[in-house]
C-alpha cells in the first residue's frame, strides 16, 4: 500500500528522471506515463504509446537489441506492466544490459476510473522482476531515494527494473502527438538520420 508520507508527484518524478537525458531512447506505456514523460518535454527520441497495452517493455527490448550502444528507458504504469508480466521473463532471459524499465506505480488503473490494480492487493512487481531473473532491481518510495536516483548510474549493469511508488492523483493530460506513423518516423529520423525514410 502507498503510505501517506510516500506520495511522490508523478509529474515531478518524470521531470527529475529525464533531466539531462541527452540521447536516452524513451518508450512509454499507454496512459498516464505518456502524459508524465511529455510534461518533461516532448522529444523526438520519445516514443509514447497510445495503445498496445502490455507491450511497452517489449518495444524497449527490440530497440535495445537493435541499438546496443544506446540506453533505452521504458517508463510505464503498474496496470500496463501487469498486462505484460510475461515480458519481464522474456527480457530477463534476453538479458540486454542497455535496457531499463521504470514502473510508475500508483496502484490504480488511472485512465479508467481509478480501480485498484493488483499492486494494491499484494502483488510486488519488484519481487516478480527479481524472481524471473532481473538482478538490478530497486524501489523508490520517497523523495530522499528519488533524489539519490540517477538513471545513468542506476541503469548500468542492466537490464534494470525499478518501481517508483507515486501518488494516485490524476493530473490533466499533457498530450504528445497521437499519430503513430508520425511518432515512429520522427523517432527513426532523430536516431538514424534522413536515410531511415528510404
Amino acid at each position: 500500500m502507498i503510505k501517506e508520507k510516500n506520495k511522490l508527484d508523478r509529474r515531478k518524478v518524470a521531470q527529475k528522471l529525464l533531466k539531462g537525458r541527452k540521447d536516452i531512447l524513451v518508450i512509454t506505456g499507454l496512459g498516464g506515463t505518456c502524459w508524465d514523460i511529455t510534461s518533461a518535454g516532448d522529444d523526438d527520441l520519445n516514443f509514447p504509446m497510445w495503445g498496445g497495452m502490455g507491450g511497452a517493455s517489449m518495444v524497449g527490448l527490440g530497440l535495445a537489441i537493435a541499438q546496443p550502444d544506446k540506453k533505452v528507458l521504458v517508463v510505464t504504469g503498474d496496470g500496463e506492466m501487469l498486462m505484460g508480466l510475461g515480458s519481464l521473463a522474456t527480457i530477463a532471459a534476453a538479458d540486454p544490459e542497455n535496457l531499463s524499465i521504470i514502473v510508475f506505480d500508483n496502484e490504480h488503473f488511472g485512465e479508467t476510473g481509478m480501480q485498484k490494480t493488483h499492486t494494491a492487493k499484494g502483488t510486488d512487481l519488484v519481487k516478480v522482476a527479481e524472481a524471473v531473473g532481473f538482478r538490478n532491481v530497486s524501489v523508490i518510495e520517497n523523495q530522499e531515494s528519488l533524489e539519490s536516483f540517477d538513471i545513468k548510474t542506476h541503469s548500468q549493469n542492466g537490464p534494470m527494473f525499478c518501481v517508483i511508488k507515486i501518488s494516485n492523483n490524476n493530473p490533466t493530460p499533457v498530450l504528445p502527438p497521437r499519430d503513430g506513423a508520425y511518432l515512429k518516423d520522427r523517432f527513426r529520423q532523430a536516431l538514424l538520420g534522413k536515410k531511415s525514410a528510404i
Binding site: 498496445g52 502490455g54 507491450g55 518495444v59 527490440g62 535495445a64 541499438q67 510475461g86 503513430g180 523517432f187
Partner: protein, 183 residues
Amino acid sequence: MSDDKNIKSEIPQWPNTIYNTIKSKNFSQVCYVPDAGHSKLITLCESDTDIDCVTLTTEEEGVAMLLGTWLGGKKGLLLMQSSGVGNIINMLSLAKTCRYPMLMLVTMRGEWGEFNPWQNPMGEACRPVLEKIGARVFNVEDSINVETTISAAAEFAFNSQQAVAVTLSQKLIGTKNFLTDMK
C-alpha cells in the same frame, strides 16, 4: 501407409530455404513461441551469431518487440503457430496505426488432416482475423514456392511498411501425429 513413411523419412529442406532467404534480406532479430514445424529454422537461427534470438512467453510480445526493432533500424521476424495468431490481434493494432513493417511466419494447425481437434478453431480463424486487423496473408503449400513467397512477403512488408504473415500449410510441414511423432 508406406508412402506416408517415405515422406516422413525425407529431411525437409524448406526450413533451410527460409533461413537463407531471411539471411539474404538482412534480418537480424528472430523472436518466437516455438512450434514443432519451426524447430529446424529456430535451430539454424540460434546457431547464427549474427541473429539475435528471443524466446517469447506469448506471441503478442513479438509484435511489440518488432516495433522496437524497426525503431532501432533493424529487421525482425516473428515465428509462431496458428494458435498464436489468436494471441496477437490487439497488439497488431500497433502495426496498423504506426505503419511499421513486420513479417510473421505462421505454421498451420487445424487445417489439413489435423490430429487434435482443439487446434481447429484457430486454424480456421487464422487468416480472417489477421486480415481483419490489417495484415496481408500469403500461403505456401508446396516447398517449391517457399523461397519466392517468403521473399515476396518480406519485400511487401518492408516496401509497404505493414504487417505481413506467411502461413505455412500442413500440406508443406506435414500433419503432426502425437502417437508416432512424439516417440
